[in-house]
């Protein structure tokens, strides 16, 4: 079985939090439980202050097993407003990542 994961192009992530709510809705998580989180990353450069966001999966991410089995995209992938999350096998994602600045692959399980 090839290992699956998410390619997150965090350079495009606007911090809109849609992925987090998509995940909570999909799994009916409550009490702050969630499969993906998004942090603000502020860094001060020589010329200006940079604002970026960093989405990352948690231990509760099951890559939307039920949805993907039915041929659907994971809830966060479908709803990401910046379309910056891709689902696939780690091998496929690595090829995509080769051309993407500031990106990461999460293979939660």
């Amino acid at each position: 079985m090839p290992r699956n994961g998410l390619l997150i192009q965090q350079d495009w992530c606007t911090g809109c939090h849609a992925c987090e709510v998509a995940c909570k809705q999909e799994h009916n998580f409550s009490g702050g439980m969630v499969g993906i989180k998004v942090d603000e990353v502020v860094s001060t450069g020589p010329d200006k202050v940079y604002v970026d966001f960093m989405p990352y999966t948690t231990r509760f991410c099951d890559l939307c097993a039920e949805r993907t089995k039915a041929g659907e995209q994971p809830a966060c992938v479908k709803h990401c407003q910046a379309t910056c999350i891709t689902y696939g096998t780690v091998a496929e994602l690595a090829i995509l990542m080769d051309k993407q600045p500031r990106s990461s692959i999460f293979a939660p399980k």
């Binding site: 495009w12 809109c16 849609a18 709510v21 009916n28 200006k48 202050v49 039920e66 479908k78 379309t83």
Partner: protein
């Protein structure tokens, strides 16, 4: 989840639930008569499968334990929080009797019809109001009507129609449309588009354009995700946007980098504008706005020399007394560069198929009710006689004039209020205390809403429970496409749709018979201008774009005679051109050319006051997970933004001894409110930004606490009565003065 048993219903979002302005297409999954979840519709061109956080939390909103599910009547004093469940019949009977009594004794105009944000609600409210006979449709407390209306009014005067950034949203094939091209540069002017769908524009369309090559120029006092990715960031002093626009016009005109062919053929008053902008040299603008002149010049050149380019603007443009003037100047930027109704420019946006949700403009009203009624209504409409622009642009009341009238009973007393999904005290109104005091003495108040909130708790005599978008039939017409909302489930509890409630009551209150038996008949009647009906649109997946050649479809309609009522080429203005010198402003007694006006309170206008309150307070910072004062009770959303947080610069905070996460007071001449401090270098050292609409639904709702609205609502620090000369534009929402200090060592 046994998802196989779910039934999928397609619909359009534009009402309570996600709440905001956009028209996302959605899939509503229904199981056993309940909404199990809401997802984006991949086939809908508006959002292409995506939804924002608020849309994805709709099911939690619908089935929230605090939602009001039955009509209520107040049994104690106003604000005591004593309610009794009643039937719809009893509620309707009471409302009918009380409103008819008021009309008989004081005239229909003494009842105001109060709206909150713009979504599918304007239609139902005005429909009921005109049936009752009142002219007073109002966004109570929205000082200077500062939310899009000043910008709309300025565009209406200048170019006859409205424009928005062209992200291909006017075409069904979207980014694949062969006639579309992305803007080369996008100026993001005072907005965080990522926070939602402001003014009906899905914010992430900007990101879609960036992926297709658009570059950015950002005008914002804060450092943001967008400024990070911008070639130029103009970090301005809040409230000086007018000077920046005039300075850019100065550079573009004096360097001769405007579109000479377009200006020659399609603009009126260029020489007068040229003369006016001479005052606004980059040096002078730097002095006013803090923006280094090199950056201003660079931004002006990039914008003018790279066609097509477009401007995406936000509410702060409206939120200064000269709002309608600032908007005019920004409009001129896209006009003289020829970026109007061109692909990738500021495309003219008209309501799809010519359908409107209900007549709002004088012209449309006249068509429906006759000139006599419109004339009669305008005589009594609050503010219409003080401000020609208010009178001649849409049917609204001027809110700053209203609050005076509420207090003085002059020229006539206000006796009743119909408040429909509007949280006046907890969100919409500037100086909410003043509105609370003025409104609690009214004889009769109805609130139609989904949750108790500071306004309904403080004021309602009768509370009517309204539906979310998933529980009702409605329709959407705001730019493109034309859409319908499909009822996926019955109203939760006994909730009814706004259209249904208002049609029921219009039948009881109307002075001439209402021609519709059902909401469906009304909707189909409105849709008939578009040669379609509810069922046809539903069968198509809930949306439709107008056919080729239709005057609500782009591009270059001014060349084709598709903008003017007389069918001639040109723009729908007195001169048929884009009026850089506005004949309408002149007719309305206003300066026909743009100018800069200093905020009423600032280090320049009131240096003594600025010594006491040395920081600039900008309110209304958007959160991506809330819409205005809504959603604070929704766990999935509140978890993401749990506290009212003001942003303060790290060095400024250090000087003030404020640490990240400390509770602070923000104080000015109006009083003080509490927020947590987010200490960050993204804030300008002299500017504090605060979100609006904060109340705590988990705290005591009864007066005086009213869900902690007096403690946390930033509008308590803003004022009424600062409207501009046109009546559109105001107040100190974005450029007030304040000081900030730590509470109790930072603990609450």
């Amino acid at each position: 989840m046994a998802k196989s048993k779910e039934n999928k219903v397609l619909s359009t979002l534009w009402s309570a639930g996600c709440g905001s302005h956009g028209g996302c297409g959605c899939e509503i999954y229904v199981q056993d008569g309940k909404v199990a979840r809401v997802e984006g519709d991949k086939n809908h061109p508006f959002n292409q499968g995506r939804l924002c956080a608020k849309g994805l939390a709709i099911s939690q909103y619908m089935y929230h334990p605090d939602r009001v599910l039955y009509p209520l009547k107040r049994t104690g004093e106003r604000g005591e929080g004593k309610w009794q469940r009643i039937t719809w019949d009893e509620a309707y009977d009471t409302i009918e009797k009380r409103l008819k009594d008021i009309r008989a004794k004081h005239g229909a105009e003494s009842v105001i019809f109060c709206q909150g944000t713009g979504r599918d609600i304007g239609g139902p409210i005005t429909f009921l109001m005109y049936a009752y006979g009142s002219p007073n449709w109002v966004q109570v407390g929205l000082a200077g009507h500062a939310c899009y209306t000043p910008r709309l009014g300025a565009m209406f005067a200048t170019q006859g129609h409205y424009s928005v950034l062209d992200a291909s949203q006017m075409l069904e094939k979207r980014y694949d449309s062969p006639e579309w091209t992305p803007p080369k540069y996008i100026i993001i002017w005072a907005q965080n588009p990522a926070a939602g769908c402001h003014d009906g524009f899905f914010g992430h369309w900007i990101i879609d354009c960036m992926k297709r090559g658009s570059k950015l120029i950002t005008i914002d006092p804060r450092s943001t995700w967008f400024s990070t990715r911008s070639e130029v960031h103009l970090q301005n002093r809040p409230g000086t946007d007018g000077a920046i626009a005039l300075g850019m016009l100065n550079v573009i005109i004096n360097e001769g980098i405007y579109d000479k062919v377009f200006v020659e053929k399609w603009c009126y008053g260029f020489d007068e504008l040229k003369e006016r902008v001479q005052e606004y040299t980059p040096e002078k603008v730097e002095e006013i706005s803090w923006v280094p002149k090199e950056l201003l010049i660079k931004a002006a050149r990039l914008f003018a020399k790279n066609k097509p380019s477009a401007i995406q603007w936000g509410e702060p443009v409206d939120a200064m007394p000269a709002g309608s003037v600032v908007a005019q100047a920004i409009n001129h930027l896209w006009a003289i560069t020829g970026n109007i109704d061109n692909p990738g420019g500021n495309v003219i946006a008209r309501n799809s198929h010519g359908v409107t949700t209900y007549p709002f403009s004088s012209a449309e009203l006249t068509k429906l009710y006759g000139a006599d009624l419109v004339k009669k209504l305008n005589e009594k409409r609050i503010g219409a006689n003080d401000y020609p622009m208010i009178k001649n642009f849409r049917g609204w009341v001027q809110p700053d004039v209203l609050i005076d009238q509420l207090e003085t009973d002059k020229p006539y007393p206000i006796k009743g209020a119909w408040i429909q999904t509007s949280n006046i005290i907890g969100g919409q109104a500037a100086d909410p205390r003043r509105h609370y005091n003025a409104m609690k003495k009214l004889d009769f108040i109805v609130c139609v809403d989904l949750f108790q909130n500071p306004t309904s708790m403080a004021l309602a005599d009768i509370f009517l429970p309204a539906c979310t978008i998933c529980e009702k039939e409605s329709f959407r017409s705001w730019w493109q496409p034309l859409g319908v909302s499909v009822k996926a489930v019955e109203g939760v509890g006994e909730a009814k749709s706004d259209w249904e409630i208002n049609l029921d009551l219009a039948k009881r209150l109307a002075t001439t018979p209402i021609k519709y038996n059902t909401v469906r008949e009304l909707i189909d009647d409105r849709l008939k201008d578009g040669n379609t009906n509810f069922e046809k649109l539903k069968a198509k997946g809930c949306w439709e774009y107008p056919p080729e050649g239709h005057n609500t479809r782009p591009y270059y309609r001014y060349e084709k005679g598709l903008l003017r009522a007389d069918g001639k080429p040109g723009f729908e203005t007195p001169t048929g051109k884009v009026e850089l010198y506005s004949k309408k402003y002149e007719e309305w007694g206003l300066d026909p050319l743009p100018y800069y006006e200093e905020p009423k309170e600032s280090s320049v206008a009131t240096p003594e006051l600025a010594k006491k309150y040395p920081l600039i307070l900008t309110t209304g910072r958007r959160s991506p997970v809330f819409f205005h004062s809504e959603h604070r009770m929704i766990p999935w959303l509140r978890e993401l933004d749990p506290f009212p947080m003001c942003e303060i610069n790290d060095k400024t905070a250090e000087e003030l001894g404020i640490g990240n996460g400390d509770w602070v007071y923000i104080e000015n001449t109006h009083g003080k409110i509490k927020m947590k401090a987010k200490v960050t270098p993204t804030a300008h050292p002299k500017v504090v930004t605060a979100p609006h609409g904060w109340w705590l639904p988990e705290t005591d709702g009864k007066a005086p606490n009213l869900f902690s609205t007096w403690e946390h609502n930033i509008n308590n620090l803003t004022s009424m009565g600062n409207q501009g000369k046109s009546g559109f534009g105001g107040t100190d929402y974005r450029s007030g003065l304040c000081r900030v200090f730590k509470i109790n060592g930072g603990k609450e």
